[in-house]
Point group: C2
Chain length 298, copies 2
């Protein structure tokens, strides 16, 4: 496995691969890899000739006061995990190589970025969109894979890749979970043993809301209340948001209709650690009479 | 010569060229080609294996009320001029192919865009930066050439290409002028015969300011006044700006120093037609005593 630190070298390498008509699979990460990242590498491996994994804790997607400085890092361990899962190249640039003195360009989405994560972290998605555009120009991937755990990010990346005509197919992989349902995240390392035990409440709250939808519930506020009530059963939890929305547009109608694809989104603080999770649910068909009643009830 | 209308086809074609290690030279234009464009094609031809010229009147860089609708278009004539000058491929997409329904991403610079053209046309450079990023992802050029006539645009494109890590070298070509000094522009066609005769006043005013700098003038306001006075000799002219600035940063110090690279920038309306022009001047060395006097005078 090769480690490349400089973006120009990475670019040169990718041009060689493209000249050889190799399909480049790309796994962008902030490092501190876990089994979720391993599954992304293995999944993209299946369709790519060469797998590039980037490790870059991107300063521009952290706001002042967030955990940029203390974000966990362990390059030697990351290298091992990447290699064990079949990665060919690690791209591991210095911040100064990515954002030199005089840097001054941003990629900004005009939609999808105001609510949920964007409401709690107003500059976050500008930082994400910008670094993804940079990384795509450096790695020039055929495929890029992102985990569904960062749901809103997957929408942002899809939108920007399409809008800016990146010749790269975006692949979204299911969230990788611990046995008790907790979504794998590099930030889980911040949790104390007690907090870790409680943290499965995110997944269980999502599951309760999903069960309600499958049972016929379509009122957005009631669905949100089910998640809030479930989360509040944990003492000391601080809910940032627990909401449902259209899974494509993130719009929040009063009532969902059968056939709608709905995303359930949760962000909470357990102790000092901010955790997010989500589930996508297809609203099932119900009898026309019942549907009429719901719509009239708006 | 090949004409490609769809961005996916263009991308596919460029991938083939890259696989053959061909150097792609790119001339982005809004069409209605003139001898200035011809010179760009011939210049990039010298260093490229394949020359791609795009013709796209980019709606996103025009504000409401500007001349997007009436911007001159003549595709058949453009094709002839492009071919005569050695162009290999014209990329000529539909607006809907470039900005489909649901489009929502912008590339924005944080500097260089507020003053001069950016002051008169506040959203102009967002539109330029965005379409250039899109075109670079579609054409995947080795080199892209821009005329110096749109001076501020050349700075914007250089900044964004560097910041977003586009693997493309930006080449700036000198402004191509008519015999009386008028910078060639597709918009010159708007001028009446009388206006056309008067329009050389832009170049003559730039020349007067350059002569003053070469003669020792370093006070920015005096240099600007020289251009204003010269332009005002034309009845009915409306000056948008006539200014001097640091040629790299566009900063406007009170006094320029020897060794400074200064750009003289003019935008005026002659009748209803908005014209721009510029000159870059290297401030010559003068005696230390004289320089001290100027600096003390700040």
């Amino acid at each position: 496995m090769l480690v490349i630190n400089n973006y120009k070298e990475m670019q040169k390498y990718s041009f060689e691969l493209i000249a050889q008509k190799q399909k480049i699979g790309f796994v962008p990460t902030m490092g501190f890899l876990h089994e979720g990242h391993g599954s992304l590498i293995r999944k993209i491996r299946e369709i790519s000739d060469v797998v590039v994994l980037s490790i870059f804790v991107n300063p521009s997607q952290f706001a002042p006061g967030e955990d940029y400085e203390r974000y966990p890092r362990n390059f030697e361990r990351d290298k091992q995990i990447a290699e064990d899962n079949g990665c060919d190249i690690i791209f591991h640039p210095d911040p100064i190589n990515m954002y030199p003195i005089g840097y001054g360009t941003e990629v900004k989405l005009k939609k999808l970025i105001k609510t949920f994560e964007g409401s709690s972290r107003p500059t976050h998605f500008d930082g994400v969109a910008t670094v993804v555009a940079k990384l795509f120009n450096i790695v020039m991937p055929t495929y890029a894979i992102f985990g569904q755990k960062d749901y809103q990010q997957t929408l942002v990346v899809r939108q920007l890749a399409k809008d800016l005509n990146f010749p790269c197919e975006i692949i979204i992989a299911p969230t990788y979970r611990e046995h008790d349902g907790l979504a794998m995240s590099s930030r889980n390392v911040y949790l104390s043993p007690d907090e870790r035990l409680s943290a499965s409440i995110l997944f269980h709250s999502l599951e309760k809301a999903r069960a309600a939808i499958m049972g016929g519930e379509r009122n957005r506020k009631i669905i949100n209340a089910i998640m809030h009530n479930s989360l509040r059963s944990l003492q000391g939890i601080r809910i940032d948001y627990a909401s449902s929305a259209n899974a494509e547009s993130l719009e929040e109608p009063d009532i969902f209709l059968s056939g709608d694809k709905v995303v359930l989104l949760i962000a909470v603080y357990i102790g000092k650690t901010r955790l997010i999770d989500n589930l996508v649910v297809n609203v099932p068909a119900i009898s026309t009479t019942l549907e009429d009643r719901f719509v009239e009830g708006v």
